[in-house]
């Protein structure tokens, strides 16, 4: 039997429909022959089909609709007294003779409808009688449909303002009273529906109940449509009565649906003026009611209302909407002890959204919400629930999105406190959101205080948090995070050098705590940020000598030294070396010889002590040479020391080609191509010759080791240098030397053991073309080149 439940139901429905059709047929006959007695008899029989208990609400509805259509015809017949000859008053009694209650009440409602239309009795009296008599049906489904029928037939007959049924003695109150009563009874029936049948089908029952909810909600809709329900009446009567019923029914499904219904059905301005009542109900609802969604919808509506016109804003202030909502949410959270954290936080998110939309200027409100949330979160051991975490992120993101400006958010004292409740992973996500917001809006954080607060917020990214599992870090994510922090450092800026220095110090303080993994990312940013400040101060020093100036390049350089030194714990000597060189250059531009020298010293020390890898050495030495070449601040002695060091290291590189290249690069150290630059042709030539020797040695080594001479690349490259200095007018570089070198290269290339190398060929060819080009150009340079005989 149970297995075929659905099938049986279909069968019962079919039987019911057949029964209705059968009796409707005879009813039609009776109607056609104006036989009232028969009409009543068959209509009652027809309606008896609705007495079934076997159908689910869904199927019962089908049956009900069939009967409903038939009742329309019967009503038409009742209306026409000439057809049946019985006055409507007598008819009203006559239908009450039916022995079965359900058919009797359907007929009574049908006649009642005619009765009101006839105006032989005040609408109010008839309605009152009908709604009272319908109490007889207490079976949930049958009662609901009967009362829904009553609601249907009475809708256009309510004694509303402007309605034809608005009699002298009748007020809108009667209409309201009627609908409220019907609503109350329907809700009771609806709530009781859950207790029908065995407990095992509870879930199914809930689903069925849900299908019927609109029958109940319809009453609220009708109430909202009654013209005469003005704010006063809504406030004094309608809402309190509805709320009373909602609270008293103690059913979560009904409470949730009806609260939502109230919010959706009645106008926003009413809600605003009755917030206290509406919100007062919330803590009284069952703990399982999803109040957060209800309140969220309310706040959504109110925010939309506020957004609809600036004229309504004073209303919000007048009724202290924020304070009331805030208080209500607090109470709900307090009342619903079992509400999961996610629920509470969601409520705060809604309130925050409301606040941001309605009172964007009230930062204190925003902070208040965050404060309340912090308080709630403090009572929870640790946020483990991922949904709750998500809501906290939403809560924290909302102000950022609204203000598009982290600076505003930084003024919220409770912001970091709330953020502290996040687990490490989410804390980082949130920190990333903050950084992205700053980047997106190019917000400039311009005071040390704010920087302090910001870094406090971002501490998840800035340093290792307690209990964080370092092993689980995703390398990619970590890189991205640290790159973001590095980018962020550039957004911290103040035009005032003093302030800027403070900012830099603050950043330094925080980033230094980042540990070896983070420093390689953050230190360069910090260094360049500081160097930017140096550049700005550069040249100003002269003007302000003697004054107590905190922000001087000297000071900053001291700071920079410390900053770069911190990399030693990583260790990251190559990076540190580059940074030292950058600083040296800046010091050079500030005309601080000692400082620059010191930076170079640091760089060399690193080179000597830390950089062991030959490849790194090559790179490092070239960087050193390049930087040193540009330095103009050094006196002869210092310069000599440094160049000597550089050339020395160049010659001591491991691989011959590397040696060769470094050495010829060193040649530039003696020839600075500007007006007052050092021009020591002798030593340039020495370098180049030495390079040639090394190239030669490399060639021979190749012959010995592999049986073939290496490529002539090195020679070609040296030739390039010769040509450069030749053109620059180094007297030590002669055309004869160039000719010899070209000759040498050509011979090498033609030798049997030469390894073909197209790059070198092309390089050489290009240089030869250049010589030709210079020759043809004529003039002084042309004449000079003319001396090279090819």
């Amino acid at each position: 039997m149970m297995l075929n439940g659905a099938e049986d139901e279909e069968k019962w429905l079919a039987e019911g429909i057949a029964g209705i059709q059968h009796n409707a047929f005879y009813m039609h006959q009776a109607l056609d022959s104006n036989n009232l007695r028969e009409a009543l008899k068959y209509s009652a029989l027809m309606l008896s089909e609705l007495r079934t208990s076997k159908l689910s609400p869904h199927k019962y509805y089908e049956l009900y609709m069939r009967a409903f259509d038939e009742l329309r015809k019967l009503e038409m017949f009742f209306k026409d007294e000439s057809k049946h000859g019985v006055s409507v008053v007598d008819l009203y009694e006559l239908v009450q003779h039916a022995g079965n209650i359900l058919p009797r009440l359907y007929l009574l409602c049908t006649v009642g409808s005619v009765y009101i239309k006839s105006k032989e009795a005040p609408a109010k009296e008839v309605l009152k009688d009908l709604v009272e008599m319908c109490r007889g049906v207490q079976h949930p489904i049958r009662g609901l449909f009967l009362r829904s029928y009553l609601a249907q037939i009475s809708r256009d007959k309510l004694p509303d303002i402007g309605s034809e049924f608005e009699g002298d003695a009748e007020t809108v109150m009667d209409a309201v009273e009627f609908v409220l009563q019907n609503f109350t009874e329907m809700n009771k029936l609806w709530v009781r529906l859950q207790h029908q049948g065995p407990g095992t089908v509870r879930e199914k029952r809930e689903k069925e109940r849900n299908e019927l909810r609109d029958l109940v909600g319809k009453n609220l809709h009708v109430l909202s449509q009654i013209e005469g329900v003005d704010l006063e009446m809504y406030k004094e009567t309608v809402l309190p009565r509805i709320v009373e019923q909602v609270v008293n029914c103690k059913d979560d499904l009904a409470q949730y649906y009806l609260m939502d219904c109230i919010i959706q059905v009645f106008p926003d301005e009413y809600h605003l003026q009755t917030l206290e009542t509406l919100l007062g109900a919330c803590p009284q609802l069952q703990p399982t009611v999803d109040i957060k969604t209800v309140l969220s919808r309310l706040m959504d509506r109110l925010s939309n209302y506020a957004a609809s016109s600036p004229d309504v804003l004073p209303e919000f202030l007048q009724v202290e909407a924020f304070a009331k909502l805030s208080k209500a949410i607090g109470k709900v959270i307090e009342a619903q002890i079992d509400m999961p954290a996610v629920g509470a936080i969601t409520l705060y998110v809604s309130l925050l959204t409301f606040t941001l939309r309605v009172h964007p200027d009230r930062l204190d409100y925003v902070d208040q919400v965050l404060g309340a949330c912090d308080k709630k979160l403090s009572t929870i051991p640790k946020l483990g629930d991922s949904r709750a975490t998500k809501q906290v992120v939403a809560l924290l993101s909302a102000p950022l999105e609204k203000y598009n400006d982290i600076v505003t958010a930084l003024r919220l004292s409770n912001y970091p406190r709330v953020m502290d409740h996040l687990d490490n992973g989410t804390n980082k996500v949130m920190a990333m959101v903050i950084i992205q917001s700053i980047m997106k809006n190019s917000s400039c954080i311009s005071t040390p205080d704010k920087v302090e607060v910001l870094f406090e917020l971002l501490k998840g990214l800035i340093k290792d948090m307690d209990g964080a599992d370092v092993d689980e870090l995703d390398e990619e994510d970590f890189k991205e995070e640290q790159n973001s922090v590095a980018r962020l450092i550039h957004m911290l800026y103040n035009d005032e050098p003093e302030e800027m220095l403070k900012i830099i110090c603050t950043v330094r303080k925080h980033t230094m705590a980042g540990g070896p993994k983070r420093l390689p990312y953050t230190v360069p940013s910090l260094v360049f940020s500081a160097l930017r400040l140096v550049r700005r101060l550069q040249g100003q020093e002269g003007d302000i000598v003697g004054e107590e100036v905190p922000a001087t390049p000297k000071k900053i350089f001291q700071l920079l030294t410390q900053i770069i030194e911190s990399l030693s714990i990583v260790p990251a000597p190559e990076l540190a070396l580059r940074l030292y060189l950058q600083c040296a250059e800046a010091a050079n531009d500030c005309d601080l010889e000692h400082v620059a020298y010191d930076f170079f010293t640091q760089a060399f020390v690193l080179y000597e002590e830390e950089i062991a890898d030959s490849k790194s050495q090559v790179t490092a030495i070239h960087l050193i040479i390049g930087t040193l070449q540009r330095m103009s601040v050094f006196g002869v002695e210092n310069r000599d020391t440094l160049t000597h060091k550089a050339t020395g290291y160049s010659a001591r590189l491991l691989k011959k080609p590397d040696q060769c290249r470094a050495v010829y690069a060193c040649s530039h150290l003696f020839w600075v191509d500007d007006q007052d630059g050092l021009k020591d042709g002798e030593r340039v030539l020495l370098c180049l010759k030495r390079a040639l020797r090394i190239a030669n040695a490399a060639q021979q080594m190749a012959n010995v080791a592999r049986g073939s001479s290496g490529p002539v690349t090195l020679f070609v490259e040296i030739l390039n240098k010769y040509l450069y200095f030749f053109e620059k007018g180094n007297p030590q570089i002669t055309s004869a030397a160039i000719q010899d070198l070209i000759e040498l290269i050509k011979t090498e290339m033609q030798s049997d053991s030469a390894t073909p190398d197209t790059a070198s060929d092309a390089f050489l060819a290009s240089m030869l073309r250049y010589i030709q080009f210079q020759k043809q150009k004529g003039g002084v340079m042309g004449e000079k080149f003319e001396s090279i005989k090819l």
Partner: protein, 314 residues
């Protein structure tokens, strides 16, 4: 003969007969017409007005509670049609005509032509008597109202067809009917309050029952008929099956848990209440409130009501 009403005869046929009430003059004439050309010899002609109570279990026994005689003719011979006017003035007819299960109360006019040697010629004519009562006195209204409102609370004394222990704590209802005396076209109005329901009720009906008792002592015969079955409630106003009570405390809107009663008496064939008619029989009416649970067990509570015939002209 002012009015005619239908009367069911023994053979099941309904005939229209004259309607009277007590203290009326019953005036008429008897027409006797011999079969053409024959003479009728008689020892005298009389008309009797009889009020009889007939008990079916005591077949053949009539109790005449009223017997009036008028001599219409002295002994002699009848040759042709002859009309005899008669009159019974302000006849005392205290009881109403009644056609019950075990008893019949009838009024008849009996014309007897007495004869020698051959049997008498007897002819009967039924008529119906109905007596009207004025509505309960207005003078006593306040006191009467107090008495008339019948309120029955029966948490402990519920009648249950197969008495079950513990039922007392399962059902607690109160009901009230606006009156205890109803005229025949009256409406029973009332309310039922549910205070405690731990039984899964299916529905509730109101029955009108007629209890006719005849005879006396050990020979008393009681017949009960259910004249009306009127459904008052479909389902029951309880939140849950067992366990949840709807006391005044838990449902602050107490009136919300009441079920209205409105029963029109006109469709039913009631008679007034007859109490101890000539020491022979009584007819009483009861309202029986019946609650049926899901296992079709019936719980009921019966209240007597008085039915009277309202003098409509007033």
């Amino acid at each position: 003969m002012e009015e005619a009403v239908p009367l069911k005869k023994e053979n099941g046929k309904t005939v229209m007969v004259a309607l009277f009430q007590s203290q009326e003059n019953i005036v008429g004439e008897v027409v006797i017409e011999p079969i053409h050309g024959k003479k009728v010899e008689h020892n005298g002609i009389k008309i009797e007005l009889l009020g009889q109570i007939e008990l079916y279990f005591d077949r053949g026994n009539f109790y005449d509670f009223t017997s009036l005689v008028r001599e219409l003719d002295v002994p002699g011979e009848l040759y042709e049609r002859k009309t005899y006017p008669f009159e019974f003035s302000t006849v005392e007819m205290p009881y109403e005509s009644y056609n019950g299960v075990n008893v019949r109360l009838r009024y008849i006019l009996k014309v007897t032509i007495s004869r020698n040697y051959v049997s008498n010629i007897v002819e009967y004519q039924d008529f119906v008597v109905r007596n009207y009562t004025p509505p309960p006195s207005i003078n006593n209204s306040i006191k009467v109202v107090d008495k008339l409102i019948r309120k029955d609370i029966f948490p402990l004394k519920l009648n249950y067809t197969s008495m079950e222990v513990g039922i007392e704590d399962c059902l607690h209802i109160e009901f009230e009917y606006s009156k205890s005396k109803y005229h025949l076209k009256d409406v029973i109005v009332g309310k039922i309050y549910f205070l405690l329901v731990r039984i899964k009720l299916k529905n509730m009906e109101l029955e009108i029952r007629r209890r006719e008792s005849t005879g006396s002592g050990p020979n008393t015969y009681v017949e009960t008929e259910t004249l009306a079955k009127f459904e008052l409630m479909d389902g029951a106003p309880v939140r849950d099956g067992p366990g949840i009570s709807l006391t005044r405390a838990t449902s602050n809107a107490f009136a919300g848990e009441s079920i209205p009663i409105r029963l029109f008496l006109s469709p039913y064939e009631l008679t007034p209440t007859y109490r101890n008619i000539n020491n022979k029989f009584s007819v009483k009416y009861y309202l029986n409130l019946v609650l049926v649970d899901e296992e079709d067990r019936r719980y009921f509570k019966q209240q007597e009501i008085t039915v009277y015939r309202l003098l409509e002209s007033s």
